[in-house]
Amino acid sequence: MSLLQKYPAEVAAILARYPADNKRSAVMPLLYLAQRAENYVPAAAIDEVAVLCEIEPTQVASIVGFYTLYYDKQAGRHRIQICTDLPCALRGADEFAAAVCAHLGVEMGGTTADGKVTVEGVMCLAACDRAPMFQVQNGAGLTFHENQTLDSVKALVAKLQAE
């Protein structure tokens, strides 16, 4: 089903935010919409977004490639993205990230066997005073989890895996 068929009101609302002769501006919000169902942008959606934005599919694909929050491949249903940048690392984020990976039995970047959770190290998320922290990204959006411990992650992962 196309984006227009699935989310007609949202597509219209997105297009309305930008000047009628600059539909290309809608490419980023439309890609978030395209990513909603499966947490990655399927190839067919690239073509459809291109038509909606009146640009070429390669131009849409370049946006997916440039911006880190868009994915062209399927991974875990939930991406746990741990900030390991300098301010967080000064408060133990590297060790925290290693402990999370060990608990899940995956390498950094890996996905659990049930396909539910992918763990990734990411750059600064603007929560340096509440490290260790991570965000969970899935099709529905993105949530911050701050002042985390291994125990709090274990509880969260159990919840995500039970879904």
């Binding site: 911006y67 603007a126 490290a131 411990t149």
Partner: protein, 436 residues
């Protein structure tokens, strides 16, 4: 020393100003009302010029002067830069979460001053939940007649839209941000022309940081003279300082410009965690040179001029503190990985240079490097600095150059000769305990 102008939600009785009724009850939108119904756009620009307000996103450029550069063409646009991505910065997020209407009111006053009928708020993609709340708050402003056609019964009309980025630090650079709203890769433009002449969709555009905009309603309400009673002559007002790293009480501190590092860190933020000794300060996130925590530095006032005089930058005041256990070559490795990841790839010196710096610095951490490797590292920084379209290239070299200069022993301990000494070979000396 604390002065809450922007972080007003921290004041007793104002905890709920993230709700429109509570914000309006506290005088919210009175400034906007005054501006739209009784001031000319030029009078607003003159007022902000007179206040001496400087851009809080990092560059410190006078806001009113920036507004006065707009070319005489229409339509014009105003864009809020809420891309907040500098490591160590988390102030705009608190402002938009806890005091969103003051920020929006500032954006709306700026839009009136620029005679723009459309404004965009560009948020980093990670602020997804925040953007959803702001969408709802903007809808409330429409319902209240503060946004939309013929605002408050005047001829002025204004719409505000949120635009989410998707994980690119470079989009905090204003021309890259505009490219991103236009649906393109977030790569900086060659300047001139500047956005005030050719910005969004080639039209005259003002881009201001979130915190800058949040300062505007109080300036309109209380006047430029009042504003100048805060801070210093060249850096008036207050600044939200973001303290992170090994500080006892990390968080945002809103203080008048001119407070010293010492008073901020030891007087307000509880000093260094575990009573350790402060070794070094990154005053502007990953982007500006490291400062050794000497008495001279600690007694320096936090203003744009004073920090620049030390050979660093105040920037957005994302102050990262590092205690005596931290290896500065490790810090340089961390910041360099950040910039390698965030380089947009447009300029070869930055794209390739950050790649090579990470390789050398990873080898430093692994131990057993030669003195020639450190000379090569230094050489690479010279191939990047001053050779790129935007400042990201320069930023990428800051921590490397300054750490090599100020803390050579931190590198020398990783030399092959040093590694032969029966100490921990690739000692990544740093605090390893997560905060509980």
């Amino acid at each position: 020393m604390i002065e809450h102008i922007v972080l007003r939600h921290r004041l007793p009785g104002l905890e709920n100003i993230n709700q429109l009724a509570a914000y309006q009850a506290s005088g919210g939108f009175d400034a906007y009302r005054t501006v739209v119904t009784s001031m000319t756009p030029q009078a607003v620009i003159d007022l902000i010029k007179a206040s001496g307000l400087r851009g809080r996103g990092g560059a410190g450029f006078p806001t009113g002067v920036k507004w006065s550069f707009l070319s005489n063409r229409f339509p014009r646009y105003v864009v809020a830069n809420s891309d907040e991505s500098e490591p160590g910065t988390f102030k705009d997020r608190e402002i938009m979460e806890r005091n969103p209407f003051q920020f929006l009111e500032g954006l709306m006053i700026a839009s009136y001053a620029a005679q723009a009928s459309t404004a965009y708020n560009y948020l980093r993609g990670e602020f997804w939940e925040l953007a959803a709340r702001l969408d709802a708050q903007i809808a409330e402003l429409h319902a209240a007649g503060l946004l939309g056609k013929n605002v408050l019964g005047t001829q002025y009309s204004l719409d505000v839209h949120n635009h989410l980025g998707a994980g690119a630090y470079i989009c905090g650079e204003e021309s890259a941000l505009l490219e991103s709203i236009e649906g393109k890769l977030g790569q900086p433009r060659l300047k001139p022309p500047f956005p005030a002449d050719r910005g969004l969709y080639g039209q005259p555009t003002v881009v201001n940081n979130t915190e800058t905009l949040a300062n505007i309603p109080p300036i309109v309400a209380r006047g430029a003279e009042w504003y100048r009673t805060l801070g210093t002559e060249s850096s008036p007002g207050t600044k939200v300082m973001c303290l992170s790293g090994h500080v006892a009480n990390a968080g945002n501190y809103e203080v008048p410009f001119g407070i010293t590092f010492r008073d901020l860190i030891y007087g307000l933020a509880g000093g260094i965690r575990g009573g350790r000794t402060l070794k070094a300060i990154l005053p502007s996130g990953a982007s500006a040179p490291i400062l050794a925590a000497t008495d001279k530095v600690l007694d320096t006032r936090l203003t744009y001029e004073d920090v620049a005089a030390l050979g660093s930058q105040l920037g957005s005041a994302s102050i990262i503190l590092m205690d005596e256990t931290v290896d500065m070559s490790w810090v340089a490795m961390k910041t360099t990985h950040f910039f390698k990841h965030e380089s947009c790839g447009k300029c070869t010196p930055c794209r390739e240079g950050t790649y090579w710096m990470t390789h050398i610095l990873d080898r430093v951490q692994a131990g057993g490097v030669q003195a020639a490797d450190l000379a090569l590292l230094s050489d690479v920084t010279h191939q990047i600095g001053g050779k790129c379209l935007c400042p990201l290239g320069d930023f990428a070299t800051s921590a490397v150059v300054s750490s090599l200069k100020l803390f050579p022993a931190d590198y020398e301990q990783h030399l092959a000769v040093a590694a032969a000494v029966p100490a921990k070979p690739a000692a990544r000396a740093k605090v390893a305990q997560p905060v509980s």
